[in-house]
């Protein structure tokens, strides 16, 4: 049963999805390129299109995150969205939300982090938040971002999980791009996503304490419990993606999505909106007879080690594209993937730091990267970690 199609800005698609999930509290602070999402939601509330929902304006992202933390603690489904500096300001609260096991959902409109100031897209804001216990899902386009919002509540609120979920969508490339999107039928979403049934609720009539002090005798166990829920989420993310497919007829992959991987010798692995461009590059290379495919990582946390081992089985070279950099090491996805494949794969691993701070990545760029994979297979000398398209001519002397 297909819903109505509309040409929407990515932000509006996400706002529509959040609305369909019937949040009781939405709180956010404006930051480019996220602002349209919560602007659209505040308009829906003002117009009466989103009922029984309170929009709480705050003076910072720290407060906005604290607001949704409090909302979930009293049993209200919540929503927020942020980006870049705003996300960084939320970090402290993000750890607390995960530790308290409150299944908040936020949309992260991925953007580079200052300094130097950049409002443009890369993945550093979310990647630097990877260890806080939040589930991280990464969308390829507007439709997937919208669908992920609905899936996120279902995953996070599952009693086996009880973790917050961050839905990542590339700033501008998805948030500000108009694409055809299938709208949600409210009745179907209601059937798919039952009302939030919290495990614990702050209530003056029945007082409880949440997030007590944990002495050394129990802190390790507390961290293990969050980790355990993350590991369990691998199963639930797949399950929810299949349930979603059954209900809405759309499926963009579970933990990962493989595209043209049959017989592939070189695989490109990446996250986010570049996947669409990489698929085009793969199509062109396949048409020219080159055995190349792409594996999209939909869930970065939990990191789908088993699914990636499976997807990359038999591949001779893996080219990982990171729109982030762990300073002093390499791209985060590259590091994790190498660790996951350790002793399980003989493939050559090539890492590319690319598309930072909004630098465009085109079909030609991904063909170049894939060709380096083919060169490596042939035994040619290829750098294992490359700052792709680095203009050394503009670097200062002596560096």
């Amino acid at each position: 049963m297909a819903g109505k199609m509309a040409v929407l800005e990515g932000s509006m698609a996400v706002a529509e999805a959040a609305k369909a999930c019937r949040p009781a509290v939405v709180s956010a602070y404006p930051i480019t390129p996220q602002t349209h999402i919560v602007e659209d939601i505040s308009q829906m509330i003002a117009d009466g299109d989103l009922q029984n929902c309170e929009y709480v304006r705050t003076e910072s992202e720290f407060s906005a995150a604290s607001m949704i933390q409090g909302a979930e603690a009293v049993g209200a489904r919540s929503f927020s969205a942020t980006s870049s500096q705003g996300a960084v300001l939320m970090y402290e609260v993000l750890f607390a939300i995960a530790g308290l096991r409150l299944p908040c959902v936020i949309a992260m409109a991925n953007r580079a982090i200052s300094a130097p100031l950049s409002i443009w897209n890369d993945h550093q804001d979310a990647i630097s938040a990877r260890d806080n216990g939040w589930i991280q899902l990464w969308a390829e386009d507007s439709q997937e971002a919208a669908d992920m919002i609905v899936q996120a509540y279902k995953i996070g609120e599952d009693r086996r999980i009880l973790l917050p979920v961050m839905v990542n969508l590339d700033g501008f490339l998805i948030t500000h791009t108009f694409e055809p999107v299938e709208l949600f039928d409210q009745k179907m979403v209601d059937e798919f996503l039952p009302p939030y049934a919290p495990l614990n609720v702050l209530d003056p009539k029945n007082p409880i304490t949440m997030g007590l002090v944990a002495p050394p005798e129990v802190y390790t166990e507390a961290r293990y419990m969050v980790h355990h829920a993350q590991i369990r989420a691998k199963e639930v993310i797949e399950e929810v993606a299949l349930d979603f497919k059954k209900k809405f007829g759309r499926y963009q992959g579970g933990l990962v999505e493989s595209y043209r991987m049959d017989g592939a010798e070189v695989a490109l692995v990446a996250m986010g909106s570049i996947i669409g461009t990489i698929k085009d590059a793969v199509d062109e290379m396949r048409a020219a007879g080159m055995p190349v495919g792409v594996v999209k990582v939909r869930s970065f946390r939990p990191f789908p080690v088993e699914a990636l081992r499976d997807a990359l089985k038999g591949v001779k070279a893996v080219c990982v594209v990171d729109r982030d950099i762990s300073m002093g090491m390499e791209g985060a996805l590259f590091t994790d993937l190498k660790a996951g494949l350790y002793a399980k794969s003989n493939a050559d691993m090539l890492g590319f730091i690319a598309g930072l701070g909004g630098r465009d990545l085109t079909i030609e760029d991904f063909k170049t990267m894939a060709n380096k994979g083919f060169a490596k297979i042939k035994g040619e000398k290829v750098s294992e970690m490359e700052w792709y398209d680095l203009d050394v001519n503009i670097l200062p002397e002596g560096i």
Partner: protein, 94 residues
């Protein structure tokens, strides 16, 4: 403070558990209130981060303050705040 027992999701517990945790054991100095000087203004109790000073009687006179040493961490804020210098921080030999 969570005791080493069966844990709960999100570290949820009955409220007031902090009462069971006697932080007095942390202190090096203890706050000692001189009841002769104490004017019962309650500023020590209001400024104490742990609520250790409490109202008590002395020589039949009410509105004096004493310290609950189960919770006095010895931070000295009360001694600093006391308007009549009735509180001494005394090194505790253990």
């Amino acid at each position: 403070m969570v005791a080493k027992e069966k844990l709960t999701i999100g570290f949820v517990a009955k409220p007031g558990g902090t009462l069971n945790y006697h932080t007095g054991g942390w202190r090096t100095f203890k706050a000692v209130i001189d009841p002769e000087k104490c004017i019962g203004c309650k500023r020590c109790a209001d400024s104490c981060p742990d609520g250790a000073p409490f109202e008590c009687a002395h020589d039949g006179k009410k509105k004096k303050f004493c310290v609950d040493y189960d919770y006095c961490k010895g931070c000295g804020i009360c001694a600093f705040e006391c308007p009549v210098d009735a509180i001494d921080m005394v090194k505790e030999e253990k």
